[in-house]
Amino acid sequence: MGFDIDVTLRRGEATIAAQFTSAGGLTALFGPSGAGKTSVLDMVAGLLRPDAGRIVVGGRVLFDSAAGVDVPVQARGCGYVFQDYRLFPHLNVRHNLLYGWQLAAPDQRWITLDEVCDLLGIGALLTRRVRHLSGGEKQRVAIGRALLSGARCLLLDEPLSSLDAARREEIMGLIERLRDELRLPILYVGHDRAEVDRLAGQVVTIRA
């Protein structure tokens, strides 16, 4: 139950195109910067509208231009972990984590705050303001916030790019746990070949 994606989007002179299916696990989008990897994540999340194509996640049709299906962003259930984290600066860590959890229908919640804190090791941060967090801590909170929203898939946009070597190893281990223990389909954008080869069951190359 992974991704079944076939989209095209014209942006000025360039055309962003992606076509792949995955059975589950972690699928990496790989390619040079500017090729539109992040745009593909945005299209899956519903933040960008493809000109044409079809997006199916876990058997659920989120977008289908031929059938006129376009599920709104808030109903897609995509746990998007942005490259710049996008934690809410006016809320502390606890309220960031619970933002989506409070909005999710009770039967959509498959993980609790305590479980997320254990999994990500962020229990000690709950009362902190987000601007006082380090990059690695922000990354964990952003992942936790996405999981708690009842996400049915994870979209990770270059989660290692702004971390030092030690943090990078830590977060990579964490992503492996998410992949193996939670069995969530993960769409992962990276530009480092070694990192992508280690994490991904399947690598999709996006050409500029």
């Binding site: 933040l47 962003v73 808030q74 998007y80 996008r86 809410f88 006016h90 933002y99 909005l103 916030r145």
Partner: protein, 228 residues
């Protein structure tokens, strides 16, 4: 204290007129600020110019235009009269004049604070399951709030100082439309009014300083944006 009962009544009337003016016009100011910050439409430049008009027009012209619109022969005035409402020579008219004069300053501060809100945070909230109104209530509005409050304080301070449009529109009636600046002006016309002028002027200085300090504190809290 240095003010007598009449003096305090003048201060109280001024505060009432300014508070009603600012709170009454705040939703409209926020709406216009929102449209100017986020809207992409053809008449945006025209709207922007119209909003700023009271800032550059002579206040006496604004008062005269209000007289034309809300007077006994004015279109709005006749409509209001039909419902038994009149603002002519009433404190509500003073509040209306103050609101019009304070409007551009309020829109400016609010617009800057709305423009400073990172739209990418709103996108993040949507991916977490929030529909547009919830995004507005839980992300946009709280993040813009310091600027909105600064706009209210600025508008309040401008209202307290309002003179030209008010005296043109609703005249200078003690106990009804005679706010602090109008009372100072009236006292200056009277022989031996210097003492009263001094007392009222000192109150005006104190109120303005408090408003400016409040506006400055709010501007500082939101990182230097939205202040004067």
């Amino acid at each position: 204290m240095m003010l007598d009962a009449d003096g305090w009544a003048i201060v109280a009337l001024s505060l009432k007129v300014s508070a009603v003016a600012v709170l009454g016009v705040a939703p409209l100011a926020f709406g216009v600020a929102w449209v100017l910050a986020r809207g992409r439409f053809a008449g945006r430049v025209v709207l922007d110019a119209l909003v700023h008009l009271p800032l550059v027009l002579p206040p006496v012209v604004v008062g005269w235009l209000l007289l034309l619109a809300f007077g006994a022969q004015g279109a709005v005035g006749r409509w209001l009269a039909g419902m038994g409402i009149t603002v002519m020579f009433r404190w509500t008219g003073a509040a209306l004049a103050s609101a019009v004069m304070a409007f551009p300053l309020m829109v400016r501060a609010m617009r800057l604070s709305i423009e400073a809100v990172d739209i990418r945070l709103e996108d993040a909230a949507r991916t977490l399951g929030a529909h547009r109104w919830r995004v507005f209530a839980t992300i946009t509005l709280p993040l813009a709030m310091p600027g909105v409050l600064a706009g209210l304080v600025l508008g309040f301070a401008r209202s307290l100082g309002e003179f030209g449009a008010t005296i043109t529109f609703v005249s200078n009636i003690p106990g009804e439309t005679q706010t602090l600046p109008l009372a100072i002006y009236a006292a200056m016309q009277l022989p031996g009014g210097e003492a009263a002028v001094t007392r009222l002027a000192m109150v005006a200085v104190a109120l303005s300083l408090i408003a400016l300090a409040a506006s400055e504190a709010l501007a500082r809290r939101m990182g230097g944006k939205g202040g004067l």
